[in-house]
């Protein structure tokens, strides 16, 4: 039996890697990918707790997170595509229309 803390530590590591990737990478698509990594880290934590607490509710939440992630990916990618069509770039530092 693998202790639940292992999974939790893995989840923390994945989350931090996602954060780091978000700040290091400069194109929108990879940054978007890093967000997915962070989401999955969260999923892992949920499932780990679900097992530890012997409850199915954590799994249900993960199920919902996955569906929402799918919706989010569809819309997010559409927006990225639109930006690329108009500005011919997906570098995130080129997106500064909102600069005050």
């Amino acid at each position: 039996m693998i202790p639940g803390s292992y999974f939790f530590i893995l989840s923390v590591i994945l989350f931090i890697l996602g954060v780091i990737a978000f700040f290091v990478k400069r194109d929108l698509i990879t940054q978007f990918l890093s967000i997915e990594v962070m989401l999955n880290a969260g999923n892992l934590a949920f499932i780990a707790f679900a097992r530890a607490l012997n409850s199915l509710h954590g799994q249900v939440i993960v199920f919902f997170i996955i569906t929402v992630a799918a919706a989010e990916a569809a819309v997010g990618l559409a927006i990225i595509l639109l930006i690329f069509r108009q500005k011919k770039t997906i570098k995130s530092e080129d997106m500064n229309l909102m600069k005050g």
Binding site: L14, L17, N40, L44, A50, L56, A70, L81
Partner: protein, 165 residues
Amino acid sequence: MAHFLFFLLAIVCVGAVVGMIFSRNQAYNALLLVLAFAALGGIFGLLSAPFIAVVQIIIYAGAIMVLFIFVIMMINLREGIPPEKKKWTIYLSAVLAFILIVELILAARGSFQALTGPGGEEIASPKALGKLLFTEYLYPFEITSILIIAALVGAIILVKKKEEE
């Protein structure tokens, strides 16, 4: 055996994400993440959540990542984008990330005891999960379907080329 499988999958998963950080090619990035998410699916299996494990592999590693790869192909940048130039925000984010690690571990420490507890012997069957989804979580479930329809329509409207263009 289970420990071995866990460490193998964990190393694959972390390695793939680290690879993504260092790779400049977005297509590779996406493929590495497919690997990472598949490995994560395996880990879900180890956590006695077979249904979620399958969903993870089919939807995440399958559908969503394929969507990413489609978009990457449509955008088709020849040259990869070099990593961030040395900028003070990079250092600041590194410091903040470190603090976050410390905080998360501190936060987890208290619940380690609970997490090492004995529970979770029985396998959460897809049948039980399904029952829960269609009884207690019926409304959220239906609302998610509306959300997905909205996202679908929204994505199509956004990307559709306008007639006059």
